[in-house]
Symmetry: C2
Subunit: 104 residues, 2 copies
DNA sequence: TTTATTGTTCCAGTTTTTTAGTACAATAGG
DNA sequence: CCTATTGTACTAAAAAACTGGAACAATAAA
């Protein structure tokens, strides 16, 4: 497993971020990354098959919403909250603090 | 032309709003509605064909991002900023104030 | 070295979205 | 009534996205 692509902060684009955040399953993932500093993929395996999860995490990564730290065979995901806050102030907090019943 | 569907504020969902905002052409429309209180469709006819414009405005409407007021044969569009601000505080201002070069 | 764990890549099938042409509907004005 | 204006509805084709199975790659552990 080679290092996955993650855009530099300067390459993050609003339309891509919004797109990544617009899928209910990805929004679910993002919500669950809200509290945890880092989260292992395994947590989501109950929600969807491995390959589907990989796909959604890839979309989040390539949009610049999430980043990953690899340790052995495990991948720890987290949100790029600080960088996103610099680029689009208020966006992530608006998404993360949305009332749960208004998400999907 | 009958009255187009627009969701009540209580039926607006975050994933739908984010999805509506994630398309570059729709983001362009939304940006241009930022300043104007209301805007006639005709403005965008240089950017895309009529039927394509109708489609994108429909997505924005049905997601609850935009609303329309009909006067004769003319349709005046505007953003539902206040309602969205109530539901997802900070979201629209984050989108509307994004640096132009970071949008697409 | 063998086996288990963790996650990716590849692939195909299905669904959704985007785009735009053409025809149609509604109103306004002469 | 006839015509222009404004925008929708319908339609179809192309592009993109979502889903998940199966095979593969990399590390860890026995």
């Amino acid at each position: 497993m080679r290092k996955p692509y993650q855009p530099a902060a300067s390459d993050i684009r609003l339309s891509a971020v919004l797109y990544a955040l617009s899928d209910p399953r990805r929004l679910q993932i993002v919500q669950s990354l809200k509290d945890q500093a880092e989260q292992n993929c395994a947590v989501y395996h109950e929600l969807m098959p491995k390959s589907t999860l990989t796909h959604h995490l890839k979309v989040l990564r390539e949009a610049g919403v999430a980043k990953v730290r690899i340790e052995g065979t495990q991948h720890f995901y987290s949100l790029r909250t600080e960088e996103l806050d610099q680029l689009f102030p208020g966006l992530m907090s608006a998404v993360l603090n949305a009332p749960p019943d208004l998400i999907e």
